[in-house]
């Protein structure tokens, strides 16, 4: 039986680091990149006699995320100890939530190849991150506890995903929501947005779930794709050969592009959870929930719907804009400075998703660090509308302003990029081109009207792209048509 007779069934667990100033249970800084063990205290080092104190902002962020994802916000939730031994976990247990998490249910809407799907969430809970192990030169492991106690939200989906494309769409949608909420920075490489996948396979048409494996260590969308495809194939081959999938935790190896069983997790499925005696239950008051609800920003899907319904943008354009909150905010501001209505919106969107996106990719800069301001983009478009800038000139001005900053009108003046609408100058160029191409002129007059494009191109080339296209066309027609 070929692989295509199977379907893959996936649920994802996302660990999102919360953008708080301090750790979840102590006042240590959460800043990334400090020297090892420079953000530690007796609490996160697990010294005897210390007590955890819950960070109010963590609770607020959890409620914010839960409300945005349509979860049931539990007015009472309980922390629990998850017991296991590992050098990066100084207490010998992680404080997490187990039977009574802060959020239940909810979901994320995704779209794959035009088909909409609602991916259900099981739960969201708060927990603390572990420290970091690095192999050292001396043949041992070096433990840095700066990250120990950094607050995480664990967001667990139901096994609703049926393809790698759906998994990637889900992660991108969730990431955009968390970034819009301002609770997470969405950085996969630095590990502040991490994902584990529960993967199983079953023959198409079957309704029971197959035995699953948990895959860890996928810190990019590309690795997730590779890891899940490898793992699904491994499981299908195992079943085809008459074998059985064992429930285990497997690590993705990006160098080899494969997954392998993690030795340290062999008997890790018995965590002996119990309620954390050091923390009484968390009781949410209605006032907090109402306040957080009132402060929710416009979410990516609502924003995309507004772009489609009110600005008449195609779904594709709208989707590109809302994938990054800062890009969408830039678009809104540029549009406000430029004009109103679907035509203006489409024009600004084309520039945002075209030239501006290209420059952002090339420079690797996020919108807050761009030298280009929304009013600059609006200014360039206005210069173009007024005939002072041609298409190629507008692109050049954009690039200069993006890379170096400055007022577009000044850049046009300083670099001599203004569009030439002077009839005398255009006529001179037209005459020169016609004189240099007698054969083409002959063929055009003989009925090959398609050659107009050639003449326009030649004149533009002669004028280094600055000729006013309307005037160039008109003059050419006049001279050629007779």
């Amino acid at each position: 039986m070929p692989v295509s007779d199977f379907e893959v069934v996936m649920g994802l667990e996302v660990h999102a680091q919360l953008l708080t100033r301090t750790k979840i249970f102590c006042g240590c800084s959460t800043e990334f990149g400090a020297e090892p063990n420079h953000h530690v205290c007796p609490v996160c080092l697990a010294m005897p006699g210390v007590l955890p104190r819950l960070n109010a902002r963590v609770v607020e962020f959890a409620v914010r995320t839960g409300l945005a994802l349509g979860c049931d916000i539990r007015r009472k939730s309980v922390f629990a100890r998850k017991n296991y031994f590992y050098p990066d976990l100084p207490k010998g247990y992680q404080i997490s939530q187990y039977e009574l998490p802060i959020c239940l249910g909810g979901g994320v809407s995704i779209e794959v190849e035009g088909v909409e799907k609602f991916v259900r969430l099981t739960r969201i809970h708060m927990e603390e991150d572990a420290g970091k192990n690095v192999h050292d030169a001396l043949g041992g492991s070096a433990v840095d506890l700066n990250r120990a106690g950094v607050p995480l939200l664990e967001i667990v989906s139901e096994p609703d995903l049926r393809s790698v494309d759906e998994a990637v769409a889900y992660l991108k949608a969730l990431r955009a929501i968390l970034m819009t909420l301002g609770v997470n920075d969405g950085n996969l490489e630095e590990g502040s947005f991490r994902c584990d996948a529960n993967v199983s396979v079953r023959r198409k048409g079957e309704t029971a779930l197959g035995q699953r494996c948990e895959i860890k260590n996928m810190n990019s969308f590309r690795f997730l794709k590779q890891a899940v495809e490898y793992e699904a194939r491994r499981q299908v081959e195992l079943i085809e050969a008459g074998g059985k999938v064992e429930q285990e935790t497997r690590l993705f190896d990006p160098q080899k592009g494969e997954t392998r069983a993690m030795r340290s997790k062999e008997d890790a499925h018995d965590y002996r959870y119990f309620p954390e005696p050091d923390l009484p239950p968390l009781i949410l008051d209605e006032e907090l929930v109402a306040r957080v609800r009132a402060s929710l920003p416009e979410l990516p899907r609502a924003r995309a719907a507004r772009y489609r319904d009110q600005l008449r943008l195609p779904a594709y354009d709208a989707g590109l804009l809302v994938a990054d909150r800062d890009v969408a905010t830039f678009f809104d501001a540029a549009l406000a400075a430029y004009g109103e209505g679907p035509e203006a919106a489409k024009k600004v969107a084309n520039w945002m998703n075209g030239e501006v996106a290209k420059l952002a990719n090339e420079t690797g800069l996020a919108p807050p660090r761009w030298k280009l301001r929304p009013e600059h983009l609006a200014g360039i478009l206005k210069l173009q509308d007024a005939g002072a800038l041609g298409g190629p000139g507008a692109k050049q001005v954009l690039e200069v302003v993006f890379r170096e900053g400055g007022d577009p009108a000044e850049v046009v003046k300083a670099r001599g990029l203004a569009q030439v609408s002077d009839e005398g100058a255009i006529e001179a160029a037209v005459d020169a081109v016609l004189a240099a191409s007698p054969a083409e002129v002959e063929r055009y007059r003989g009925g090959n009207l398609k050659l107009m494009g050639f003449f326009v191109g030649q004149v533009m080339k002669q004028m280094r792209g600055k000729g006013n296209p309307g005037l160039v066309n008109a003059l050419l027609k006049k001279k050629l048509g007779g």
């Binding site: 819950l54 017991n83 041992g140 923390l279």
Partner: protein, 97 residues
Amino acid sequence: MSLSLEEVRRVASLARLRLSPEEEELFAGQLSAILDHVKQLEELDVSAVEPMTHALAAGEATELRPDEPLPGLEPEAALANAPARDGTAFQVPRIIE
């Protein structure tokens, strides 16, 4: 209820305890007795009672701390009791993954 030696060994291994054969026997008996004692609670009908998750009285909630940085430990103080170190990191036996 009688705990098997196998179960005692598993619990010991999860807790990283090394027990002698005599201790395994001893603790199997003691643990079984403890479980039997607690099992008496099952005779009560608690279906209408909310599970207790904390020793504090019901309604007693955890207090929240503002998200403000507090001074921690200097790295030298944090590492003062470390059996081995590598720069300002704790050094432990190599972890193979």
